[in-house]
Amino acid sequence: MSAFYALLFTVAFLVLVIGLAKKIIQYSRVPAPLKIPVTPAPLTKGGVAVRLAKEAILFAALFRSNKWTWLFGWMFHMSLFVVLIIHLRYFIKDVPTWLVLLQPIGKYAAFTMIIGLLGLLTRRMFVARVKYISSPSDYLWLLLLIVIGLTGATMRFISHTDIISVKEFALGILRFDWQALPMDVPLLVHLFLVATLMILLPFSKLLHIPGLFFAPSRNQVDNPREQRHIAPWAAELDAEKNKIQPK
C-alpha cells in the first residue's frame, strides 16, 4: 500500500509538471496577432504586471462583478494557498522558524477553505444562471476539494495521524527511498484525492491558473500606435503589402 502511494505521487507529480509545462509551452507558442488588451489598459510592462497581480492576488475583476462569488472564491483560494505553504513542512527536513510560526494559522485556513468551497457549491446548486452553465465535472471538483479539506481537518483536530512518519514518507519519495505510510483511513483518502487532483489538473478547467497570465485581454501593453505589433504569420502577409509604398 505504501509503495502504491509512493508510486502514485511520483506519477502524479510528473503528470502535473509535464502536463502544465506542455500547456504553458503551447500557450506561449500560439501568437497573439492583434493588440487586444481590454482598455483602459496599462501603458507599460510594469503596469501590466500590476494589473495581473491585482487579478491573481485580489481577484479585482471578480470583486467588481459579484461580491458573493468573490468572497467565497477568494476565501477558498487564499486559504488553499496558506494550507499549501503549511504543508511544506513535510518536504523540508529542517523546518524554518517562519514556517513553524505559521502553523497555527493553518488550522483556521482549513476552515475558511471549506466554508469558501461550500459557499461556491451552494451558489452553483441554487443560482439558476450558474446551475445552467455547470457540468457534472464542475460539481465534482468542488466535492473533491471539500473532501480533501475535510479529511485534512479531521487529521488535525479529531483523529491525529503520526505526522512524523508522514514526513518520512514524503521525504522518502523525494529521495526515491520509499518509506512506510501510516495506514489511517482519513490520511489515505486525503492523499489519494490530492494525487487525483494533481493528475487531472493539466486536463481540466484548473488550467485557469496559467490561463490567467496568458490572456491577451489582460497581459498586453496598450501601445499600438507607438509600437508596431506583428505576429509571425501576419508578417508573411506583410510582404504583399510592402509593394504599396510612396514613390
Binding site: L34, I36, R64, K205, P216, D222, P224
Partner: protein, 515 residues
C-alpha cells in the same frame, strides 16, 4: 413595428430570470454565394463541412492565443452571466457570455481535449452536428462583440474573440451573415458600406459647403480626393447623409477649418468602418485597411484623422499600424492615426477654438460610451482618455451635462444593442431587446436630472438609437453627434456668429470709436 414586445423597464435592481430558448431560431439572413466568394468564402455548405469546420477550428486555435487560452480557462464561476445586454433584454440563457462561449467550447472539448474525447458527459462535450452549426449561427449573431463580459471575468475571457472565431468558422462552411458580407463587398466594389459612388459623394460634399457658408459666412471646404492637403479624413459613410451623423461631419469640417488644417476625404476609401472585424477575418480586415494606406499615399497627405465611429476607431487605433503600417511616410509629430476628438480636445486645451456654450443651453446632455472606443481603444496619452476627452469636449460645448449610472458608463458601458454586425433589420427584435439596459439608464437621468439628449461617437450607435429610442418612448432625434454640439457652439474667425457676439467691425477691422 414588428411582432415582438418591447421589454418593460425593470424595477431596479433585479436578478434576471432565465427563459431557455427565448431567442431560439434561425438567426439573421444567411449570405449568398455572390457576396461570399469575393471575400474568400465558399458560399455554400460543402459536403465535408464537418471536417472543414474542425480544420478551421484547429487553424484558429493555432493562430490566436486568445482563442486557445479562453477555450481552456473558463472556471464556470458565473460572474459574467448577468453582464450581457442581450441576456438582460432577452432572458435567453444562451446569451449569457459563458453559455455563448460554451457553444464552441463543448465542441472544442470533444475533439481537442483528453477529457472531452473520453468522458464527454462528464465535462459537457458534444459532437459537431448540423444542429450545432445552426445554433452557433443563431447565437453567435446575438453577440455584438462589445467586450463588456470580459471586464467582469476573473480570467479576462473576451467572448468577442470567441464570437469572431465562430463567425469565421461558419463563413468557411457557407454560413456567413448576409448583412456583413454584403457590406464588405460594397466596400470592395464601390468604396464604402452604403454603396455611395464617388460622384454622389462629391455632390453631397458640395451641398454641405454651400450650407455651411450660408449659415456662417465662412467658406469651409469639404474636399474629396484633393491631393496634397494635410490630412485624410476617414469617417463612416453614414456621416455623409444620415441624421444625426452628418451634423457631426459638418462639425469636423468647421473645427479643421478653424485650425487651418486642410483635409480631404477619399472616394476610394470613403469609409472608416471595417466590418472585417465583425466577421473575425484578419484577411478581410487587412484588405479593407489597405485602402486607407493606398489613399493616404495617393493623396500625399501627412496625417490620418478618423471621424466618430466606434469599431472603426478600434481597428484604427489598435490594429491599423499592424494591418497596414508602418506609416513612416506620414508626419510623425501626430499620433497615427488620430481621432477627431483628440484634435478638437487638443485645440481646446491650447485655447485655439472659441465655443459659445449658450447655443446649446436648451439641451441637457448625457454621453453614451461606445463599446469599441471604451473597451478596445484609447484617446490621448492617458489610459481612460477615451472617457475623459469626449466628456470634456461636450462640456466645452454645452453648459448642462449629466452622466448616467456609473454601472452603465465608461468601461462598464452597455452596448447600444446594434454593434458587431447586428445593425440589420432582420435582427430588429434582438436590437430592441438588447437596448434595454441603456434605455433604462437613460430613463433614469431623464427623470432625475432632466436630461434631454444623449450624445455618441459611433455611427452604429447613432443609427441604432434613432431606430430604438421610439420603442422605449423617447424621441428619435434625442441622439446627437458630439461634433454636432461643437458645430452648434463653434465661433469661427470671421463668421456671422463672431460678428453677432463681438459687434460689427468696419472694413479696416477696427471698431467705430464711441462719440
Amino acid at each position: 413595428m414588428a411582432d415582438f414586445e418591447t421589454p418593460k423597464f425593470r424595477e431596479y435592481p433585479v436578478v434576471p430570470q432565465i427563459k431557455p430558448d427565448a431567442m431560439a431560431g434561425d438567426g439573421p439572413f444567411v449570405s449568398r454565394a455572390e457576396f461570399d466568394t469575393d471575400l474568400g468564402y465558399p458560399g455554400e455548405l460543402p459536403e465535408n463541412w464537418k471536417e472543414k469546420t474542425l480544420d478551421k477550428m484547429q487553424d484558429l486555435l493555432g493562430r490566436y492565443r486568445s482563442l486557445q487560452v479562453f477555450m481552456d480557462s473558463c472556471i464556470k464561476c458565473g460572474a459574467c452571466t448577468d453582464k450581457c445586454h442581450y441576456f438582460i433584454g432577452t432572458n435567453d440563457p444562451k446569451n449569457m457570455p459563458v453559455a455563448r462561449q460554451d457553444l464552441m467550447r463543448k465542441v472544442y472539448r470533444r475533439y481537442f481535449t483528453f477529457a472531452g474525447k473520453y468522458f464527454p458527459g462528464l465535462v459537457g462535450a458534444v459532437d459537431l452536428t448540423e444542429d450545432v452549426l445552426k445554433e452557433w449561427y443563431n447565437y453567435y449573431h446575438q453577440c455584438s462583440e462589445c467586450r463588456r463580459c470580459s471586464v467582469f471575468c476573473p480570467m479576462g475571457i473576451d467572448t468577442a474573440e470567441v464570437t469572431m472565431a465562430a463567425r469565421e468558422m461558419l463563413a468557411h462552411v457557407g454560413y456567413a451573415q448576409k448583412y456583413s458580407n454584403q457590406i464588405i463587398q460594397k466596400v470592395y466594389k464601390i468604396g464604402n458600406n452604403l454603396g455611395l459612388p464617388g460622384p454622389a459623394l462629391k455632390g453631397i460634399l458640395e451641398d454641405l459647403e454651400e450650407e455651411v457658408e450660408e449659415d456662417t459666412g465662412v467658406p469651409v471646404k469639404y474636399h474629396m480626393d484633393k491631393e496634397g492637403v494635410e490630412a485624410l479624413l476617414m469617417t463612416p459613410s453614414a456621416d455623409f447623409f444620415a441624421e444625426p451623423h452628418i451634423d457631426g461631419l459638418i462639425g469636423y469640417g468647421k473645427v479643421l477649418h478653424e485650425l487651418g488644417i486642410t483635409w480631404t476625404v477619399s472616394s476610394k476609401a470613403s469609409e472608416a468602418a471595417n466590418f472585417g472585424l465583425f466577421i473575425g477575418s484578419y484577411d478581410n480586415m487587412q484588405r479593407i485597411s489597405m485602402r486607407i494606406r493606398e489613399a493616404a499615399i495617393e493623396l500625399k497627405v501627412k496625417r490620418i484623422i478618423f471621424g466618430e465611429c466606434g469599431h472603426a476607431w478600434r481597428v484604427a487605433y489598435s490594429f491599423l499600424n499592424t494591418l497596414a503600417g508602418p506609416f513612416d511616410f506620414l508626419d510623425q509629430n501626430y499620433p497615427i492615426p488620430q481621432h477627431i476628438l483628440e484634435v478638437t480636445y487638443g485645440a481646446l486645451q491650447e485655447g485655439k477654438l472659441r465655443l459659445n456654450k449658450e447655443e446649446n443651453d436648451h439641451l441637457t446632455m448625457t454621453f453614451h460610451d461606445s463599446c469599441n472606443v471604451a473597451r478596445a481603444s484609447r484617446m490621448g496619452n492617458k489610459p481612460g482618455g477615451q472617457f475623459d476627452i469626449p466628456r470634456a469636449v461636450i462640456q466645452a460645448a454645452c453648459n448642462n451635462y449629466v452622466d448616467m449610472d456609473s454601472d452603465t458608463i465608461k468601461d462598464a458601458t452597455f452596448c447600444c444593442g446594434g454593434g458587431g454586425g447586428i445593425l440589420t433589420d432582420d435582427l430588429m427584435e434582438l436590437r430592441v431587446k438588447g437596448a434595454l439596459p441603456r434605455m433604462e439608464a437613460l430613463r433614469q437621468v431623464t427623470e432625475e436630472s432632466g436630461v434631454t439628449n444623449i450624445a455618441a461617437i459611433c455611427a452604429i450607435c447613432k443609427s441604432q438609437f434613432t431606430k430604438t429610442l421610439p420603442y422605449y418612448g423617447f424621441e428619435m432625434d434625442a441622439i446627437m453627434s458630439v461634433h454636432q454640439l461643437v458645430s452648434e457652439a463653434i465661433v469661427m474667425t470671421g463668421s456671422e456668429q463672431e460678428k453677432e457676439l463681438d459687434g460689427v467691425e468696419d472694413e479696416e477691422g477696427t471698431k467705430e470709436p464711441e462719440e
